[in-house]
Assembly symmetry: C2
Homo-oligomer: 140 residues x 2
DNA sequence: CTAAAGCCTCTAGTTAGCTAGAGAGTCAAG
DNA sequence: CTTGACTCTCTAGCTAACTAGAGGCTTTAG
């Protein structure tokens, strides 16, 4: 076994991910391995760093697909930092959008909750729960 | 064909959902049907209302599982409004939690974005993108 | 009478990031 | 020399709410 040549379990231990996850990352093209005569995967020690990079990038909300693109840029020999900054800005905007949607939705629900406090809870014949049935259709 | 007896396509047209969705709702127990000699589903006309109820409840963010429980209460002969109010309160709290998490996360990302504006973008040997690699591990 | 439309069941695919298990080969320690 | 740890591939399952398609009946309109 050459120096700088780790089996999958060793990489798993050093990075804190499972061997299953490493194999999964390989199917996505996020990491690469050599194969020995026995079919075992062997990893250059830089792969430990690359897996740590992946985990770190995930904490920023990047998807594995995003991360794959970052690594592709890197493996082309380019510096992916500008791309990373653009991705981050996208994430921030998506988050902002989600926050605004959820705040508006929460206000709507609170409005219903408060209005329902005054509604008669006895369903008319054929009704299931008038709280829901008295909503105007299409209000979303 | 009896009065008040609709085929699945008629229910679909009246409610705006697809026949596939109606069959799916049936597998979940959200709606019920009788079968004719030919195997066709036949629906009482109240089922149109029940499907509209389901759609309306979905606009409040209720899952089909939630809605199934509401309908179960109703079919027991009870008034589900108290249960609906409790569910709504749950949804509001979940939303509030999600909003707070996302706001905090967004602030973290904005903080990174702003700090990155001052970082040298040239990776050292072995680095992929120092923006990500200089994050403290474990900061989430 | 025929063709189109409607209905049936069953299976599988969609998103994202894994996880679990079967069944089998390989390697290291005692 | 055996046993247990490690590795391999392949398949399937997880969440949620559907959607699409195959293959095959039944009904309806003209």
């Amino acid at each position: 076994m050459e120096i700088n040549s780790l089996k999958i379990g060793a990489v798993a231990k050093r990075t804190g991910v499972t061997v299953g996850t490493l194999r999964y990352y390989e199917t996505l093209g996020l990491i690469q391995s050599q194969r020995g005569d026995n079919g075992y995967r062997f990893y250059a020690s830089e792969m430990v760093h690359q897996v740590q990079f992946i985990k770190q990038a995930q904490t920023l909300g990047f998807s594995l697909e995003d991360i794959g693109e970052i690594l592709t840029v890197h493996q082309r020999g380019d510096v992916p930092c500008g791309f990373v900054q653009a991705l981050l800005q996208d994430k921030i905007q998506q988050l902002d959008q989600q926050i605004r949607e959820r705040v508006a939705f929460k206000e709507k629900l609170e409005d219903y909750r408060d209005r329902w406090a005054t509604i008669n809870l006895q369903p008319k014949p054929g009704e299931i729960c008038p709280l829901i049935e008295t909503l105007q259709p299409g209000v979303s």
